[in-house]
Symmetry: C4
Subunit: 210 residues, 4 copies
């Protein structure tokens, strides 16, 4: 009864603090992203042309910032959805959640890398690898909740093909990773399009009226 496995299933954790901690991490990530947009160093402080030139040159930074912001918001939304499925939390879920947040909190680094070196295929493909890994970490958390912690009244409405569909995400990011070695703009397009698969919740098999 007190085996290692069992220890992770102890259910003394309140979902509200897990959500508060996770919401804090998500909120900080999306807001920290802007710190990578550095004020350019101008020779002539009053020169409109020089500032405009520097801002245009920093365009890839704005694009990578925008992509990461949308993707983290999407993860927040999906996270909100799956935590709403759980009837309570156990230690296993908390650690899978922490690993997922570890992946999320790493995102500012490849975002800065891809924004600084958009002509470097390694930098741009790392950007996508991190998104793919995050999606996998999310799917592991989701799978744990759906298998062990789901509210009984919601269990019947889960789509059994949900996990299969969910693999579209990592696959699509990995297409972007491959494209980075051919054409950076195409990779950015792949990264930007992928979250669109997830911006609305999975269609319920039977609509739940509330």
């Amino acid at each position: 009864m007190h085996s290692l496995f069992d220890r992770f299933r102890r259910g003394e954790l309140r979902l509200i603090r897990i959500e508060a901690f996770s919401d804090g991490v998500f909120a900080i990530i999306v807001t920290l992203l802007v710190l990578e947009l550095k004020v350019p160093v101008l020779k002539d402080h009053a020169s409109v042309g020089e500032l405009a030139h520097h801002l245009l040159e920093a365009l890839p930074k704005f694009v990578s910032w925008l992509i990461s912001f949308i993707i983290v918001c999407k993860f927040w939304l999906n996270h909100h959805h799956i935590l709403g499925l759980a009837r309570h939390a156990d230690y296993g879920m908390v650690w899978l959640n922490s690993l997922f947040l570890l992946g999320q909190s790493f995102i500012p680094f490849p975002t800065a890398l891809a924004g600084e070196y958009p002509s470097n295929p390694l930098a741009v493909s790392l950007f996508g690898v991190v998104f793919a890994l995050n999606t996998v970490l999310f799917l592991i958390l989701q799978s744990y909740i759906v298998r062990r912690l789901i509210k009984p009244e919601l269990a019947a409405h889960q789509d059994p093909r949900g996990m299969l569909k969910a693999l579209i995400g990592p696959a699509s990011y990995l297409v972007g990773v491959a494209l980075a070695w051919v054409s950076v703009p195409l990779a950015f397009v792949a990264y930007a399009l992928t979250p669109l698969f997830y911006i609305t919740p999975p269609a319920p098999r039977r609509r739940v009226e509330r």
Copy 2:
């Protein structure tokens, strides 16, 4: 029934997590603004005169910090007000909210730019463009909530001319944007005065007693 449009109207989201996430983003933005106030590099570490000179030179940074702080607090307050009108949240609202937070989280960048280069009309006018865009993003979110998600008992008290009045905000910021090309201090005055239109809630048509 499961059209794309309908998917955005699914209402399984709890307002409390949207508020927690948004409050986190607002709190981080106002606090990060201070990171742009850098400690000056002094040749003589003990020199009072040299430090005083550097602090006075950094005056535009303090002013832009102050303006952004007040404006973000104003947005937080207005956001608090409109989320209080909603009976629940749907995916459409969450995404409009995320776009609004995207705009908010961008504010530290033009704040730093205008504080660093107050003599550059492009830097100072960008500051106002970002505030005008944020107000527009806010109005779109407000309009969505008022049209689709408003609590029935509050619907009758909405001022139909509210949206028209609300356009005073972007218009006033854009006046500041134009003034930046004539006189930087006047632009700063326009930016600082605009939030004063919004520091109290819109007058209700009939006072709601609670």
Copy 3:
């Protein structure tokens, strides 16, 4: 009835979001303070002596970090106390709260300044001026809540001499400000001792049993 003054007294704000926003700001301030503790640049990466020397040289930064951390925690605690007195929030209170948070969020700047230039009397005295100003902003907020928003059952327990006692705080910080021009260590001692007046709640005139 709809005079400017009256507009600030509209009471449609939930205390819980004001607390959430304030808690976020407090939490970020205390955590950002550590960013001023920079990793030193070593010539010999493996040299224990060189690293020890740099860490000892950075001692004033650790001291100013510690003082600011304790003082912000003290403000958080006092803030918690006075918001617990209010029966609800109005716009006047929210704006006074925002001004108070403005003062709080400024603290990392003079903390960094005093830590970087501990031999500069202006830097060290500014540190204390900011704490004195913050205490004044806090007292204004407290006074507004006690006069207008206090829960009826708590009103009788307020100490009428509370505001007078409260002025000990700014006075004590200003003693530190003056000492900074004579002896920096004495100023730091004054700053560090002042919060000790406030680390427990004001003694109630009659003990409230709960």
Copy 4:
């Protein structure tokens, strides 16, 4: 009755705000850690080899980031556990909690130090000293809650040998501190293994059904 000691035991604090403040601090710490992962400066922006070389060289930074992230998550989880034991909060608990958060918020500094100078025994051993100190601060907070504030129905389930077992943590970190002067990789291994003692809750003497 109004002795200094008694003042700390006044019980007018709501646990929910203490948790909100603490959750905010934890969330910011884990997310700030990534800011130490700096984008490398490349001579040839498009060079895959040069970027790969810099990323491999930064490996100790990734390792120290990972260790600190897991350890802070572990502290968050243990903190969650002990605050769940308290029936309410008093000023003594709040100040012990603030001291604990002071220790937590310091973690990014030794993390950066050990990541930057992994060949420096002082840097690597400081990393472990800070973890050991944090564990001691946590144990003091835990002991205060268990002795004074515990919910009556939980008191019987506390393991009297819990504190003794808890000292394994600081002892294990201090082994790492000593190892740092012999072999840095061994020290990192000790730091990484220590939190594994605490990733699940202490076994209850009798299982509490909820």
